[in-house]
């Protein structure tokens, strides 16, 4: 059966219908269509009262058209809102025209072939404000309790369900449902002089308890009864899993193979090529992604709406499996398209939407790291992390919402905040202790970009606190 013969039956506004309509309408030589149906619901609060809250629904489609030319294949990509076949037709016409006006693509490759996945015919899955049916009343109660105890709460919860449909003129029909949820709450004392934070990721909010969140904040604010001012310097520092995630995400994002191969990153070998095969961090350290990692499940196939250094529209639909970026301390893979893999002579290892750091033999929790520290700092999370020097992957940023002094294995007070200058690659070489890997949530990147992480707490003997921050 040809696609066009079937179009009258499926040319409706369902995601699958939009995909088939686009594939049948395109006059390009080949076509890939990605439709995303995304719903989300959020609550936001400040000063113990709700502020802005919303429910959103969006359906967006990307049409990538491919046109053969004498010198190769040109690609054109158009993304837009798509709630009707008319809108889809306009996207197809735009993509076809863009491909015909384009030049031969450097990343041209055979499109991934395949067939319809068993779940292809299933509809999109939606969330709405009822995901907070249990959480919201508890949050209201937490507001009351915090007010009574002179605490102020500021926070945000978000839940999204995105169903992705990917179809191609080579027969591929793939579907993936991605739940993404997270919570975060900052607590302050009434005089605004002390802050604490708790946050985490969730898939459905059944495991998030607003009262427990407030209780954790109350405990942390209590740790700050004693305040200690410390100068800048290098400190024995415990990074909790959230802060480790903050830093490992940067290590992952800057791991593009092409840029490394061209000599422009910390993963570049001086004199040419990448450092793949070199021991770059301590033995026993593994950094990897796995679409099937329990609790962090993500799309098991590649989705790319445009081409760049680390993505290729030709790679849409490539299957994804566990990829070790660092294995036993050695750099074992970098973010690859098929184009960059051919360029660098390495296996094809596209980016995957989760990240796990583990340390061989690491057991116990952050409490065990604290108990084993004679004098040092315990951080809560990091903020405003930016690359300073790509050569060493030096990052700068700040501690935030709780730096605690550890003395003789116990938390004895709160310390001022610091600006740090550190490289995550260097930290993985220098750390002295690690806890067991647990689900974590990056304070900085988890909200908008990358929430699926599992990391240990790390203790680093000489973490570089470059200057003091007065921020509270």
């Amino acid at each position: 059966m040809t696609l066009s013969a079937n179009i009258s039956d499926i040319a409706d506004s369902s995601p699958q219908g939009l995909v088939e309509h686009a594939l049948a309408t395109s006059t390009a030589d080949d076509c890939v269509v990605i439709v995303r149906d995304a719903t989300s619901a959020n609550l936001r609060w400040a000063n113990n009262t709700l502020t802005t809250n919303g429910v959103m629904h969006a359906v967006t489609a990307t049409v990538v058209s491919f046109v053969k030319r004498a010198d190769g294949i040109a690609a054109g990509s158009v993304t837009g809102s798509a709630s009707s076949t008319e809108q889809m037709t306009a996207l197809v016409e735009g993509a076809d025209a863009a491909a015909r006006a384009g030049s031969a693509a450097e990343d041209a490759a055979e499109l991934v072939a395949g067939e319809a996945a068993p779940d292809w015919d299933l509809g999109p899955v939606h969330t709405d404000v009822h995901v907070y049916d249990a959480f919201a009343p508890a949050l209201g109660e937490a507001f009351g309790r915090a007010t009574a105890q002179d605490r102020l709460l500021y926070g945000f919860v978000n839940h999204e369900l995105t169903t992705t449909y990917l179809g191609s003129s080579t027969g591929l029909r793939l579907r993936h449902v991605q739940p993404t949820g997270h919570y975060g709450c900052t607590g302050k004392t009434a005089d605004l002089g002390t802050s604490a934070w708790v946050g985490g990721a969730t898939r459905d909010f059944t495991d998030v308890d607003a009262l427990a969140m407030d209780a954790a904040l109350a405990e942390r604010l209590g740790w700050a009864t004693r305040r200690v001012e410390l100068p800048a310097g290098r400190y024995d520092t415990i990074l909790p899993p959230a802060a480790t995630a903050d830093l490992m995400i940067d290590a992952y994002w800057y791991a593009g193979a092409r840029v490394a191969w061209e000599g422009q990153s910390v993963y570049s070998h001086r004199g040419g090529g990448t450092r793949i095969g070199e021991r770059i961090v301590a033995p026993g350290v593994d950094l990897y992604s796995d679409p099937a990692y329990p609790g962090l499940e993500c799309a098991p196939f590649n989705v790319a709406t445009s081409s760049g250094n680390e993505s290729s529209v030709f790679d849409n639909g490539l299957p994804l499996a566990r990829t070790d970026w660092i294995r036993d301390g050695e750099l074992s893979a970098l973010l690859q398209t098929r184009h960059s893999a051919a360029m660098t002579g390495q296996p094809v290892t596209p980016a995957i939407d989760n990240l796990v750091l583990s340390v061989d033999g690491a057991t116990g929790s952050i409490d065990d790291l604290v108990a084993g520290t004679e004098r040092g700092l315990l951080l809560t999370c990091l903020w405003y992390i930016r690359e300073v020097d790509p050569q060493s992957l030096l990052l700068t940023g700040l501690t935030r919402d709780g730096v605690y002094l550890v003395e003789n294995g116990e938390i004895t007070g709160a310390v001022n905040n610091f600006r740090f200058n550190e490289s995550p690659v260097d930290l993985l070489r220098r750390f002295s202790h690690a806890s067991q890997t647990v689900p974590s949530f990056s304070r900085e990147w988890g909200d908008d970009y990358f929430s699926r992480t599992a990391t240990p707490a790390l203790r680093v003997p000489d973490f570089n606190m470059s200057s003091v921050s007065q921020a509270l």
Binding site: V55, R270, G308, V388, D462
Partner: protein, 509 residues
């Protein structure tokens, strides 16, 4: 400069019918306020690497949103199906959200009043919409740029990009305001990369993004050819430059770098929603708390900063904001003292004395913005600019006043704490100044300071001929996260005794 009218492909969309349906339904449900926003935002991005087009992609966000105040709480919902029935349903959803929120809202939401603008239109100042220029022509330009950059002996690789945006908005509210607007913005750029004996580095364009059209690349208002010719030589010099010695230096900072310091340490710090805690869980609060209004010595007496959403070609410029407020310009820092904040209608209501000292209800200064039809408007940054001195010195004169210092050009790395005290910035190039003259580049420098100390150390601002309107496409704020474009004008300025770090030492290498 006259601008084209509103794109007829936008005005052909059914936003008036949808708006009427949504507002009617909201009124039926008894809300105290409702507004409807219909948006179409078109984006196009082109990327070129080493003479080859890596990708050209188009994106369009199209949809609508309904925001209500009901029982003292905000409710917001958005949709993409363009029918009156769906608009009414989305309005109902917004009311449902408000009802849920009302249970947990202890401070009832109210907004400052604003005159009604009955069906007004505003279009930004540009000549040619870049999205109307053939992609092949744009790609050819970027390819030519990277080809020319790679003729430099020190250049191993070169990249170029062009981002373009056309933003259309229709706003309507229950009070009767109707606005239809269009603006265009563009960010071109390029970067050359090279390696020395044991190092690699890059040199990027310092051209600012602008609220202009394709003419920015063709009319001579920016010297693209001159910069493309210079960058390979500048990179070659940088690769051979000595490492900076950490210490305290006098700094002459070019507008291509200082705009970002203004953005982070003044722009965000004077958003009233931040000062009042509404961003506390995300980007943070501000040291410039409301009790410091009129008292805080923000900087030296030569520091004068304005907020302005009306300046021609500004990235945050528009006729009416996303709450139907006519945009304005006002003082934020005058003679070094904090005198104003950026406001939306809810913030203006909370502090009416700020804009109505004689006891009126207060007024927003037009700083509400949502980056897409799927997001709620939030209090957003105006074009926040440092003013030049009327008869101020030239850049050369400022450099001439320094015995031992650095001249900083172009932005690169940036970071500031969550109350906007402690910051650290790098740049594209740092020139050593000795006895009032530039004596070549140094590598690996970053400047680190505290906001009020830094601005307090500003000895002089340059004259109007040194003033440049810089800015960014990618300012992030709020939960869920939103991105906004904003411009910052500033003159070349002279600072005394600022801490300079050596980034290699910081990395422990």
């Amino acid at each position: 400069m006259s601008a084209p009218g509103v794109d007829p492909t936008f005005t052909a969309l059914p936003y008036r019918r949808l708006g009427d349906a949504a507002l009617t339904r909201a009124r039926e449900l008894g809300v105290s306020h409702a507004d409807f926003r219909f948006e179409r935002v078109r984006y196009q991005h082109l990327g070129v690497r080493d003479g080859v087009l890596q990708g050209a992609s188009d994106q369009e966000d199209l949809g609508f949103a309904v925001r209500v105040i009901h029982r003292g709480a905000w409710g917001f919902a958005s949709g993409v199906v363009l029918t009156p029935e769906e608009a009414a349903r989305v309005a109902e959803t917004a009311v449902q959200v408000a009802l849920l929120a009302a249970e947990m809202t202890s401070t009832p939401v109210e907004i400052a009043p604003e005159p009604v603008y009955d069906d007004v239109t505003w279009v930004s100042s540009y000549v040619t919409n870049p999205l109307d220029v053939p992609v092949a022509e744009k790609a050819a330009l970027l390819i030519d740029w990277t080809d020319r950059l790679r003729t430099g002996a020190a250049v191993d690789h070169a990249s170029a990009y062009l981002q373009q945006v056309q933003e259309n908005k229709y706003y309507a509210d229950l009070h009767g305001t109707r606005t239809t607007q269009q603006r265009v913005r563009m960010q071109p750029g390029f970067e050359a990369m090279g390696a020395g004996a044991d190092t690699f580095d890059s040199m990027a364009s310092i051209a600012p993004p602008v609220g202009r059209g394709w003419e920015y690349l063709t009319d001579g208002s920016y010297d693209w050819d001159g910069e493309i010719e210079q960058v390979p030589e500048l990179l070659a010099e940088k690769l051979k430059a000595p490492s900076v010695e950490a210490g305290s230096y006098d700094l002459v900072i070019d507008p291509s770098n200082l705009w970002l310091t203004i953005h982070e340490s003044v722009g965000h710090a004077t958003e009233l929603d931040r000062a009042l805690g509404y961003e506390a869980n995300y980007a943070g609060t501000s040291f410039a708390t409301y009790d410091k209004l009129g008292k805080l010595q923000y900087g030296s007496p030569v520091m004068n900063v304005t907020g302005d959403r009306t300046v021609e070609h500004g990235l945050a410029s528009i006729g009416y904001d996303d709450e139907g407020v006519r945009t304005q310009s006002w003082d934020i820092v005058r003679d070094g003292v904090l005198v104003g904040y950026q406001l939306d209608r809810a913030m203006a209501h909370l502090k009416p004395e700020l804009t109505a000292p004689d006891g009126g209800p207060g007024r927003s200064n037009g700083c509400a913005y949502a980056d897409s039809p799927g997001h709620i408007p939030i209090q957003r940054m105006a074009n926040v600019s440092l003013q030049p001195a009327e008869d101020g010195p030239s850049t050369e004169e400022l450099i001439g006043r320094v015995d031992d210092g650095l001249y900083i050009v172009g932005d690169k790395s940036w970071s500031i704490d969550m109350q906007r005290f402690n910051f650290q910035f790098t740049g594209q190039r740092f020139y050593r100044i000795a006895n009032g003259e530039l004596v070549g580049q140094v590598r690996g420098a970053a400047y680190q300071a505290t906001t009020t100390e830094f601005w307090g150390s500003m000895e002089a601002v340059g004259g109007p001929e040194t003033w440049v309107l810089g800015g960014a496409f990618n300012c992030g704020k709020a939960q869920p996260g939103q991105v906004a474009s904003v411009s910052h004008g500033c003159p070349t300025s002279l600072f005394r005794g600022v801490r300079i770090l050596n980034t290699t030492d910081e990395a422990g290498h």
